[in-house]
Subunit: 450 residues, 2 copies
């Protein structure tokens, strides 16, 4: 397995010795348990000084993982990660650019692209040097798009596949990149045995880009990822019980709308609140009778856009609460503590879960909610989330730009009769439970062997 963030991170213990800890992040939660104990190697970037020290030790075996940390130049990593991965490719694939103004492709951007190339090469070099003959190499996500092209000539014996956890932009958007960069990116990806996506839609968009830019048809596969098994373990934990009491205190005997998200431009958090505001304005019967619990926590605050968006989120909540709050009722309750057991508790307790991204590779919150909710809660889901392709039948549709439709979806969810709720909740649950991360892993392996 090859990914930017690995399954272990390191820190010094009291005696100055390096100590391995289980790393964080969605990929590690999903894939970690399947890789643990198998003897498979996991190559990842060193993300801290202590990680870099561990990288010097070569392969480290700990917590059942066989990891190899790469001591990439920190400036290179930062430029590749911030400027290219997160402020270019992420923006492009999620449609986040304010195009009259951004991106500005200048000298600094080209330096960052060079850094992205070097970071990808560091990964490719390590794989080329260390992978056993004929090994399967599973490269994860947009940070490492070029590794395939760098490996193909040197190690044709390897069966390398790439998996994108994001959407993929269409042919109009790929033109935002300099032509040579678009060619390099897509050639890097098409050099893999196959490129995987969460939904047919993203695979089609990628194929359309390849046809337009390269004039060739890529090998793709579609394999939706499901939530990690540990969400059910967390749901059964005492920390989650504490969380459930906290959520109960917030909601009282009111209906409960929940959202759980990083504060991320693509998650469409502000429009979600505006739709709730419209619900309260247009249907007075909901005033005092519903609470919107927003478990949203800061993310990528090194990017000015994300700081600005966080302020917009906060001021929108303030404005709506000022408009509607009564002495005994706060319409929107914000919790930015990023407390996972508490988030899972909110997922157990919602009457309606709002998941309204403008674009999302998959969206695991919708699936986690479906798995652990205990109140036949309704999932209000954006048609532009990858998860929509699996859950669209049983979820209530949200159009991410349409406040009236979003308010209607919330109203429909909150007024739905018990038998329809139960039926939809069961359908959501069964759909999600039927696919584990093991299915997803097996489909990557199958794609590598095709």
């Amino acid at each position: 397995v090859v990914s930017n963030r690995g399954p272990l991170s390191f820190r010094r213990d009291d005696h100055g010795a390096l100590e391995a800890r289980r790393g964080a992040g969605g990929l590690v939660s999903s894939l970690g348990p399947l890789v643990q104990g198998t003897g498979a190697s996991w190559i990842a970037a060193a993300l801290s000084e202590d990680d870099r020290a561990a990288a010097g030790a070569g392969v480290v075996e700990a917590e059942g993982f066989r990891t190899r940390m790469l001591a990439i130049d920190p400036d290179d990593h930062r430029m590749a990660y911030d400027v290219i991965s997160n402020a270019t490719l992420w923006y492009l694939h999620h449609g986040l650019y304010d195009l009259p103004r951004r991106p500005i492709i200048d000298g600094r951007w080209y330096e960052a692209w060079d850094a992205y190339r070097r970071v990808n090469k560091a990964f490719a070099d390590t794989v080329a040097a260390e992978a056993p003959n004929g090994a399967v190499v599973l490269v994860q996500d947009y940070h490492l798009a070029l590794v395939g092209g760098m490996l193909a000539a040197r190690r044709p014996d390897l069966a390398a596949v790439h998996f994108s956890h994001t959407p993929f932009c269409g042919p109009n958007s790929i033109r935002v990149l300099p032509e040579a960069v678009a060619v390099e990116l897509l050639r890097g990806m098409t050099a893999y045995r196959a490129c995987g996506f969460h939904t047919e839609r993203w695979a089609r968009a990628f194929a359309a880009c390849c046809r337009d830019v390269l004039g060739s048809e890529p090998a793709t596969f579609v394999s939706p990822l499901g939530p990690a098994d540990d969400v059910r373990e967390v749901a059964a934990s005492s920390a989650c019980e504490d969380g459930l009491r906290w959520v109960g205190n917030v909601a009282g005997d009111r209906k409960l709308v929940v959202r759980v998200d990083r504060i991320e431009l693509s998650k469409n958090i502000v429009r979600g609140f505006l739709a709730f505001d419209h619900l309260l304005a247009s249907r007075p019967e909901w005033r005092e009778h519903v609470v919107f619990l927003a478990l949203v926590y800061p993310s990528r605050e090194g990017l000015a856009d994300y700081l600005a968006y966080r302020n917009e989120v906060a001021s929108t909540i303030e404005r709506i609460n000022r408009r509607w709050a009564t002495p005994s009722w706060t319409p929107i309750v914000l919790d930015d503590s990023d407390d996972y057991p508490r988030s899972v508790a909110a997922l157990r307790a919602y009457d309606a879960l709002l998941v309204n991204p403008i674009k999302d590779g998959m969206n695991l919150v919708a699936k986690e909610g479906a798995l652990v909710n205990e109140r036949d809660g309704v999932v209000c889901l954006s048609r532009d989330a990858g998860a929509w392709d699996e859950l669209g039948g049983a979820a209530v549709e949200v159009h991410p730009y349409d406040l009236l439709a979003t308010a209607d979806a919330l109203h429909a969810a909150l007024t739905m009769g018990p038998s329809e709720r139960a039926q939809r909740a069961k359908s959501l649950h069964d759909t999600v439970a039927a696919r584990t991360p093991k299915h997803w892993l097996d489909e990557q392996l199958a794609a590598a062997h095709r």
Copy 2:
């Protein structure tokens, strides 16, 4: 002919009588001379109180035009024009939305959509009532997309075609509209005998939208429009000679870069200046030796976005001039007077013409420049302008987001040897001169009769 803006506008003379004057606008310049004196009817919206008074008079014949002004409710027209045509469809087709924040589809937006529908219906009703049996109806632009659907059932004898002067958005972008609205829009358009576009690219994007949203393949045709004949008349006028003297005073014996644009988000004016700034920073030999004459004038200032963009344009110029100006040299000279003879003078005199839109249906400035320039000037043209498809061979390519590539294009243009300049200029001129608005009109008529 059916269009929002017609060939005549009206005002009261000193005695209070209505007086017809030739209307302004690109469509009237191109199509006007071809329609004048033919007896064809031109149906357009009344845009002022005096126009509305003229509308009461029914068909008005003046200046060789047979016009019928529609007295549409001013609130309806304003909402349809501002909110739907200019702040929704224009944004969508040019990729101007900052999607994490805009659009917000709320109650006001739906009211505006109703108004857009009513405005389209007013046009359709008039055509249905007045068009002779079997007439050809040429409906112009995105303001009137629905007329086709409204006519099809009532007057199947009519041969109605639609022509889009904008690009057309792709299937990812059309999803920004509420589903029912996207269906209504595309059904309205596919009900025409055919929909015309300036380039194959926009026709393909429209077809992809129809396949995704309607599941059907539309009838399209491609017919690039050329500049109106009057640009050569203006070039020969004494007002233009005055303009040429003014331009000569601005440029002195320095090289002259020119741009002529409405201050419009899609025109990418700020990045053009930033690229010029980069040119001066990276190639000191150009300091004091080149002037960038920007004939850019305010537009759509009723929209806050356009006011903001105008301020960004002004502050960018100030900043760059502060950085580089010397007592005898101002690097960027702004003229916002919208003086057409002066603009044509600048087109006669440029060494390099910068046309770098992020997206543009066609861009007639590039073609007008090619037609009237007298110095074998080089056209630096965005690959995302429709005109690129015709002029790409002889123009120098500009990547609209890439400041380095744009600066390189300007440098290449300004240092190009005389024989290559002459060859490219001739090729540009001949390509443009070979297609007149008559070709474009004939191709619409042919599409209507197919």
